[in-house]
Each structure stands twice: as structure tokens, then as C-alpha cells.
Amino acid sequence: MTKAAPLAAVSGTAATVAAPILSIRQVSKRFGQRPVLHGISLDVASGEFLTILGESGSGKTTLLRLIAGFEDLDSGEIWMGAERLDRIPAHRRQVNTVFQSYALFPHLSVFDNVAYGLRAKNTAQAEIPERVTQALAMVQMGEFAQAAPAKLSGGQQQRVALARALVNRPRVLLLDEPLSALDANLRRQMQVELKSLQREVGITFIFVTHDQEEAMALSDRVALLRAGLLEQVAPPREIYGEPETAYAAQFIGQTNLLRAEVKEGIATAGPIVWRTFGASGKATYSLRPECIRLVTESAGLPFANADVSGGRFRGRVRSQAFGGAMDLLEIDCGGANTIRARIANPGILTGEREFEFAATDAIRVREGEPE
């Protein structure tokens, strides 16, 4: 199989890419009176591992079902290359789905499950055994070909479901929370396997999950969906490092949201002060816990006069949870301000201490509904 197309095609933070394999344009969907998707636009690059991440009810599964053809869209278009996908019935789309509950046919053996799609498309009879065997070998299920699906464990059923979809060589593979039914260890193992499988076959994966860690670990890009609107579409590092919105910052990883007043390049959020280049007025900043450092050579500076090239603040350590390499601290810095910090090997901290962070680590984010 060929290697995945270079991901250089995926550029920047935008929801558009050059020569997308799949293009979702202004897609809206409502169920009865309830709107689920509000004019979503999203391009998927060929060979990409794209994750649609969102809470339950955000519309992520609906978006996947629209691509698969299990639902009709109310407005908008979905294109696959030069083909208008949303006007083609599900069974003629070059798209395959791995279902959340696997949806293996209980009356068919593992072999016949995997062969199902090939037979439906009238693949040459002679070709079927070889392709099925190959697909089962790819997911390490070769020895279970004659087993009934009911006799398999969850993880094994998952592999069969993957083989059943991949054997058809779809242009895009849709995965609807495929790992959510597995226990934590198996899940991590399957994540690794899924990722290497995707690299091996070079097929575009669109993966739906509500688990942000899973999204970060697997994806080339993450499309964060919130209440039927795209909050941010970006590679995981970017969405983590430079969240555009308060929601994105909070949903992906942990963060401190600082509601600050900006005046003449100085941001002030309660006792915390730092230099910023943002425009004056009220603004929200995201500060990741691991960006906060403990000031060891404490000079006991009063915070009002802090060196404002970075941020400094004093606070009492209210709780300290040992976390191996990093301890998680909750720092009470007066009023209602609690700051969470992750600090490497701080020892046991007591009483009031001083902390600092680089001004560039405080990321200005938008509040409120996505635009």
C-alpha cells in the first residue's frame, strides 16, 4: 500500500485544505424542531486522520452519519472530489463506517462478515478469499475467520469491524467512537494500532470521539464541534497551544481562564499582572497549568510592582496532589481566584509562595458562542 499523502496539504488553522478528498459545505441538519448542525464547512485532506471532537449532543455523530448517507442533510453540500456525495445513496458511496457497537452480522461468520461488502459489490469470486484473509491478517484476526461474532471479545469484534470496512478499500473511513466500549488498557492499545493501521493503508480516517486525549493522540487535525458549530479546526498541538476560544482551551487539556482588564499593554486579572500586546478592554486569557513555574529565589516582591515582562503572582498553596513527574497544585491567590499549576518536583510546598509565567503563555481567547 502507498504511504499516506504528505500532510503538508493540511495548512494552517483553517477548515479548508488544498485539493480535499472530502468537502463539507454549509451543511445544516435539524431533527424536527431541534437544530443539530448549523452550516458546517470543513475540508478533509487525502490521507489525513481527522478527528471530530465534541461533547454528546454537539452533532458530531450526525455529521458522520450525513457523510455515510444514513441521514439526509437539510441544506448544504458534501463533495467527494468532483462528485456530489450527498445526492448518492449510502450503498453507492465510497465510504465505509466502523460503528460504535461494531454492528457485526450475528448470523454470519467473521469471514462472511468481512466478505459482505465485497459480495455486495460483485467482486470476482476468486478474489474474495484472498482479500478477506489479507484484511483479517491486518487486524491480527486471521485465526478467527470461522468464528461467530458473538463468541468474540469486544476488542476482537472491533478488529473484525475494522477489517470489514477496510477490505472494501474506501476512499474515506468513518469511525464512530469505535473505542468507547473498550476498557482503558485495551483502548490505549487499539489507539496505537489504529494509528499505525491508518499510516499503513493510507486511507483518510474521519474519527468521531468525545475523548479529547484520544483526539490529541491520534489526529493530524482536530475539528472541535460545539452545539452544531465548529469551534476550531487545527492540528492537536496548535489547538492545545493556541486555542482560539475559551471553550477550546477548556475542552482540550486543563487550563486557567483569566478574565483580565487590559490597559496600555498591561493585563490585570485580580492579583495577577502581565504584559500583553492585545487591544485594551476586557479580555480572557488561557494559561495552561504547566506554564506556571515556582519562583524559588523568592525576593518577596509586592505583586503590584512585579516585573511585568512575564506574569508574577503570590498565592497560598491550598492543595498539592502528587502526580509522578508533575504535581498538581491549587493556588489560592486571594478573592475568588484559584489558579491550577503543574510543577515538576516542587517538594512539599506550604504557606504563601510566589509563581511566574511567560507572558506569551497567556493566550488571548474568545468567549461565548462560536461564530
Binding site: H91, N96, T97, P106, H107, R164, A165, N168
Partner: protein
Amino acid sequence: MYSRAYKAGVTIPPLLWVTVFLLVPYAILFCYSFWSVSPAQVILHNWNLQNYFQLLRNPIYVQVLLRSIRIAASVTVFALLLGYPLAYYLSFHAAKRKDLLYQLVIIPLWASYLVRGYAWKTILGSDGVLNGFLQYLHITHKPVEFFLYSPFAVIITLTHIYTPFMLLPIYASLEHIPRNLVEASHDLGSSSWSTFRRVILPLSLPGVLAGATFAFVLTLGDFLAPLLVGGPSGIMISNVVVSLFGAAYNWPLGAAISFGMMLLVVTLLLITERLEKRLVIS
């Protein structure tokens, strides 16, 4: 752990019920089937197999039995042809109308069997609704006699009566099919028809088998429909049993026929049970 009194309380009543109302009567009937009737109409307790020989040798009984099987098979096929599509529609496409349509299927079961039988008598009779309609349309010019008092009338009436018995288990088995299997089938490139043939039909076969068993066994033992609409040519095996226990006063022969029937039905049930076990995937 359950107390002894509790165990006795839950086991003894059903055991008693089965013994008194099933086992003992069957045993008595079984004994009768080996006795005979004297010309003076006295039942003689002289144990022999004459009744069973007569059942197999007398062409009248064999003929009626074969007709009963034919009628039961026809009713089963017609009830399946009517019941399956309706069950399929109810389960997959009725959407909001589902509850209403389901009730419409159920309601006739609340009406008395006799009422439904008489209704068909009114419809099929020589001055009945069907004949009146055909003459009104000038399709026929005089009443068609063959509608009523024929095996045909028995088949129509019993198909009407037993179609819900066919439909309900099929509907239940269709409702049990996870909908994502249908989606998976479409996803893998199967059209609706091919999905029906390769996924829905095989998974609904246990329901079909249960429904067919109901329709066949209930029809085979039916005696009211032939009595109401069957006429002499529509007589079924149960009518023979009824007359043997009644006017003909030959209880021993009636008992022998009853046991022959029961043997047939039990064999059938055992076969379907084994088939069903093979179909149902645990």
C-alpha cells in the same frame, strides 16, 4: 435460599393443575383409544389396536386428514404472504402510524372467533356481500355457490383468523434486529432489496418459524371454521373427532384419531424447535 414451604408453594399448584387437567384426561383418552364399541353401543374394555388400523386403512379418514394438512399448509402460506409484508412495514416504515396500525392488527383478536366466522358466512354466502358486489359490477350474473361451503371458504376464514398469530412473532423478531445492522449493510454497498435478503430475512426466520407453527397447528386442529363455512367438502379432521364423540358414538375411534393428531403435532413441534435452535444465534 428458599424455604421448603415456599418451594412447595410454587411447585405443587402447577403440578397439580397439569396432572388433573392434562395428564389424567390424556391417560383416560389413551386408554379409550385401545377399546372398542359393541354393536349395541356399549364400550368394551377389550384392549386392541383396531382403532389405529382403521385410522390408517379407512380412506375416508386418510382423505380428511390429508385435506386438513393441505388446508393448514395453505392457510400458513397465505398468512405468511399477508403477515410478513405487514410486519415488515410496521417495524421498518410505519414510523408514527406504528402504534395505531399495531392496535388495528390486535383488535380483531379481541372479537369472538364465532363472530369472525359468521362474518365470512355473510360475505361469502350466495346472497352475501361478495356475490352482491360481483353481480352489481356485472362480473357474474348469478350467485357463485362455490364461495361458501368449500375448502376455499375455510382457507379464507382461517387465514383471516390466524394471520395475526403469524404477524406477531414475525413483528417481534423484526423489532429485535438492531437497526445499525441495516445501516452497516447499506454502508457495505448493499441495496435495500439485497439488505432484506441477506440480513433482515435471515434474522427474522425464527419469527417466521414461530408464526408458521402457530398458523399450521391451530388450523390443523380447527373445527369451527369448517363447521360454519366448510360444508361437506370442507370437513376437517377435528370435525370427524367431534362427530365420533357425538352422533356416531365411537369414543374409542375418536380417541385414536385424537392421539394420531397429537403425535403429528408433537413431531412437528419438535422439528420446528430444533430448526429454531439452529436459527437463533445466542
